[in-house]
Symmetry: C2
Subunit: 405 residues, 2 copies
């Protein structure tokens, strides 16, 4: 079956063959994709109250149009990653129902009763169970796909299934390269441009550190990463957390996933500066965000070590001191990646609505500068932090006086 | 064509079809393999003075017999690596004439007019041009297959052709794991055993550093390595250097190839202690060895940087300070790998004839202890050396008084 592009009618016809719905079901499809890369249909049997999501990769980047072609093979990476997530962290990823690599599509559990976490956070929603959930997601995916646990030959064969050249290239460019100079693809708030030109782009010491992080991203095949673990890749409800959009999955440094989610919390933390919200509400929400960051990291740390103590296989990693330096490096790198993703979301190609929701461009630029400054400080000081509590204290103390609320 | 094992007659029949020899040539074949993994035939047309080498992988480790099966796909890695060496360093690798992946064989230039470098070195032969040659080999293979030069997508696709699970596993076990405990596969001089049990195997701090190097070996996909660059993988003549046996090739840390060749020079350096050779000859040869090490490293360094200045592609690596830290890390890691390969060659599965040529086991054990002690010191102090001259001075000063000649 060769590739053809779905529409709502074709999507209904296709899923009828999957045995998921009854043969006589009256199905309704709705295209809900707001991403750049894919079509996403929710297909529903209203009577039986059953639904699924059909996601199909487009052979180009949607927002740019057909001028930026992108192989649809990324669906294969997403399906491969989902299969692993369904094994290792079944509660925290959508259930894969069907895959068709030729059509570049996957059918999966419909999670539309949940809200995108990023939208929840701009409404100041608190997700009390999120640290428990995401820490398990991180600890299990990052430990059980590493050489700590896997047979090294099996691990290399699995890594070979995730040679995700195109999507890695996007991250390499958009996260680690373009933001550090006046690259064409950057998406720059005109009010921010003077700061970039006069200050930010002159910081070669920062670009150097970003390049070191890029090197790790490009060469350190430690664990299977989600690869794009921001708050826009997570559905969060009262008691549920579901990580989706795993098409960026590849074997890279474990710290990248950890740092990316923390960085997205910090973007939200900074974004309240410049928003017209009651100051006590902001104080309270920021307290919640920082507490969440501490819990995410410490629970991840604990669960990762629990996995290690219970299930580490390689005799070489059991020698005195190995675990400590492994975890320490992971922490330091995570703080570095955290800073890098904060920076890329201010003036790189893709932004976060947390900050871009500030409509006044002047005000927005001031908030963006605080994001950039915090990102920079985290990168530059990453070796100095002893633990996540120190990072959080640093965030509180170092955003400049006018940031304090 | 499915796999069948060659013998001298079948080898002659096979090469007749390659068009390398004239149709009427009278060919003579001789099996000369002394390795553990392969059959090696030299096939010769005496009249035309033409010859080639036919190398076929065996589906098991020869020395152990059929009890240690090993996939013959390693020939594919060797052929793939040779193709790249023929492009990047044509003068310093055998010319690939033919490959047949189904039969797990390659035909290549006959280099039997040259001597195995290791044998030359135990005869105190000097290879005056070797540093020039091997430094080019290293600088070109390690630079032009890295992300410094290659398009990152092409590099990842190339790396996917070198997912060399079985042979990497051999290195992971035999170099970085087994020597640090009483592993079954170790090959231990009984006179050395007390030192191992009472001293060496109690050094957890050393095992920790070896495990860190193992982590780099397993996860850092920096450049296409030869993967087994010791003096037994090199033919060296007066004016010629040919690196062969690239079946261990994979994408790993560039420092591994650099450190391995230096480590083999240092094993030879130590080996003269305990040999019945004129003391002035030893002094002279050791001077030659240390000078060679300095030249190998410094020429490599210079050529690698020349390649960088001329051909680096990625804008991220041009930022101030990046090159310096990249090269510094490569140097430090190389000294670490150098120490690790010295250690594995004393009591791991595979030894060097340099030291094992000492027939008196008691004497041999004393020399082996000096190899182990030097290897350890290089690993433990690797961060402290500023340059290769300091390493060489350290070797001279730190082998213990009784080592000085």
């Amino acid at each position: 079956m060769s590739y053809y592009q779905m529409n709502e009618k074709l999507a209904i016809d296709y899923v009828k063959g999957l045995g998921f719905f009854s043969e006589t079901a009256r199905l309704v499809a709705r295209e809900v994709g707001d991403g750049n890369l894919n079509l996403v249909f929710i297909i529903r049997d209203e009577e039986a109250q059953r639904s699924l999501v059909l996601k199909q990769a487009l052979p180009y980047v949607r927002v740019v149009g057909e001028g930026w072609p992108l192989s649809v093979e990324r669906t294969i990476f997403e399906a491969n990653a989902l299969e692993i997530h369904n094994k290792l962290v079944a509660d925290y990823a959508p259930k894969l129902i069907h895959r068709n690599d030729q059509l570049a599509l996957i059918a999966m559990e419909d999670l539309s009763h949940l809200q995108l976490m990023r939208y929840g956070m701009i409404e100041m929603k608190k997700h009390a169970n999120f640290p428990q959930h995401i820490s398990t997601f991180l600890a299990n995916t990052l430990f059980y796909t590493s050489d700590l646990y896997m047979d090294p030959e099996e691990k290399k064969k699995l890594a070979a299934k995730f040679v995700n050249t195109q999507l890695c290239k996007i991250s390499e460019d958009l996260i680690f390269t373009d933001p550090y100079y006046d690259a064409e693809r950057n998406n720059i708030n005109p009010e921010l441009r003077p700061y970039l030109e006069e200050v930010f782009w002159k910081k070669d010491y920062l670009w150097l550190e970003a390049s070191k992080l890029k090197y790790k991203f490009m060469t350190e095949g430690q664990s299977l990463l989600h690869g794009d673990l921001h708050t826009g890749s997570i559905f969060a409800g009262e008691d549920e957390t579901k990580v989706f959009d795993s098409e960026f999955a590849f074997f890279g440094p474990a710290a990248f996933d950890v740092g990316k989610i923390i960085g997205n919390f910090l973007i939200n933390y900074v974004s309240w500066w410049g928003k017209d919200v009651d100051i006590n509400q902001i104080k309270d929400y920021r307290e919640y965000l920082l507490n969440s960051i501490v819990d995410i990291y410490n629970l991840f740390h604990k669960k990762f070590i629990d996995n290690w103590e219970r299930d580490a296989q390689d005799i070489s990693v059991k020698v005195e001191g190995y675990q400590q330096q492994y975890i320490r490096r992971l922490f330091v790198d995570a703080i570095g990646f955290c800073g890098a993703v904060m920076i890329r979301r201010t003036h790189g190609l893709a932004h976060n609505i947390d900050v871009d929701g500030i409509e006044d461009l002047k005000k927005r630029s001031k908030t963006q500068i605080r994001v950039l400054e915090l990102g920079e400080k985290l990168i530059m000081n990453r070796e100095a932090f002893k633990n996540i509590e120190e990072v959080v204290a640093f965030v509180k103390d170092n955003l400049g006086l006018e940031m304090k609320i």
